[in-house]
Symmetry: C2
Subunit: 267 residues, 2 copies
């Protein structure tokens, strides 16, 4: 018999929807109990209501919002196509999945970089000769001092926003150390298709370098540079410009050791 009535708690147990949720769905007009006692306001549900509640739960578990569920149920009720609403939902969910997947990939990249940075901290890689690949960067060249980094990089980050695709670095266009009038280029690698506005974009060619990862405060890099120069000298190679300092650790604002990769090109 369909006259059999279920109280809200039983319906909750049967459908797995919470009592709170059932009351909410009534308030939203999604699932009206077949009978509400006018004096006690107790809700009573029929088998048919329970079937509807099951449908509702299935749709909710699929990730539909209550509004979307309302649309689907309305289409169902008219015996209409259903595909319209569901196709929209599918598109939304697919976008969500893709977005989460992209985030996971980005996090993986971040974690790998981080792991490598930590490895460098524990066991700095020895002086190494390798090729730096070509890279497209947003570049700001100016005369000044190292400490300008705290001014220039925030500005670059501000303009390039979401187009950034790697650790920022600095090019030193003269080999001699200058305290306060160095010829510097502040660079941020860009994502392949990105074209930020209000900033100079340049493609740096690949270059052969001797590299060294320096850990410690950024004003103590002098001896490490000296090691690189000495190395090239010992091999009778001619150092070239620009020198490159790459800032490896993210969030360099706080404490913790900083990591700087020094790269000295030769001809």
């Amino acid at each position: 018999m369909s006259g059999l009535l279920y109280a809200i708690g039983e319906v909750s147990r049967i459908t797995g929807l919470s009592v709170k949720a059932l009351r909410l769905y009534q308030e939203k007009g999604l699932l009206e109990p077949s009978r509400v006692d006018p004096s006690t306001h107790y809700r009573y549900y029929t088998e048919r209501d329970i079937t509807l509640a099951h449908t509702l739960r299935a749709l909710r578990d699929l990730g539909l919002s209550l509004e979307e569920i309302r649309g689907v149920l309305a289409e169902l009720d008219q015996g209409a196509s259903l595909t319209e609403q569901l196709a929209r939902v599918r598109a939304r969910l697919a976008e969500e999945a893709a977005s989460a997947q992209r985030s996971v990939l980005a996090l993986d990249t971040l974690l790998r970089n981080q792991a490598q940075a930590e490895a460098y901290l524990r066991a700095p890689p020895p002086l190494l000769e390798r090729w730096l690949p070509a890279v497209r960067v947003a570049l700001h060249r100016a005369r000044g001092r190292y400490s300008d980094a705290s001014v220039v990089f925030p500005r670059l980050l501000a303009t390039c926003g979401p187009h950034i695709a790697g650790a920022p670095f600095c090019l030193l266009h003269e080999a001699e150390y200058r305290e306060d009038d160095a010829d510097l280029s502040w660079c941020v690698p860009l994502a392949p298709g990105a074209t930020p506005e209000g900033v100079h974009v340049e493609e740096l060619p690949e270059v052969q370098v001797a590299t060294l990862v320096h850990s410690g405060p950024p004003d103590s890099v002098g001896p490490s540079w000296a090691r690189l120069f000495a190395h090239l000298h010992a091999k009778e190679r001619t150092p070239s410009v620009p020198l490159r300092e790459t800032y490896l650790r993210v969030g360099t604002t706080g404490g913790g050791s900083l990591l700087t990769e020094l790269a000295l090109p030769w001809e």
Copy 2:
């Protein structure tokens, strides 16, 4: 100079974070403006604050909650490993992505079924001979009448809940039509590993049938069954039992045309 101060609107323009969001992050202790005018309560941010805001935005865009961001920033501030928090976030995001992906797949299945049902509605497939595959079902056998469906199926759906893997159907164990004492088995296909409790589970073997999709109210299937019997008779085959009626359209509660697939086995 790092003494340069930015008002909240400028910071918003630079970082892409809304003014509301910036105020919220201050309230949550994530991003404190370097100076707050004690008399006007205006917020002023330094370049360093803006860098932090960028980090914050990047993390938010990755899908981290503010609490997770707080954790990451704290680790960053101590120069700690970072990997702990980020690995947790990665796990969460991966789960989200997988879940959304599962939903998309489920929706695709649903949409395919729906599309086929609609195709059947427009152009009912002719009488067809084929094999019904073996299927594991939750089964409730009882004597009664067709209209018991509205009682039995909700109960089955209630007990089997999320284990359901297909359209429900009904087996008629006798070939003759009986109004009120038919020998019926109400069935719901189950997902492969599912073992619902409080219900009889059975594996139906595959069987060769003549099938026909009937569209219209469920009490008008008589002539369609007659067509199937006539077909087998013309081919001099012996009809067998059980007959099977599968209810194709979801949400059969509301209006709209119903679709029932009739399947008549033979020996």
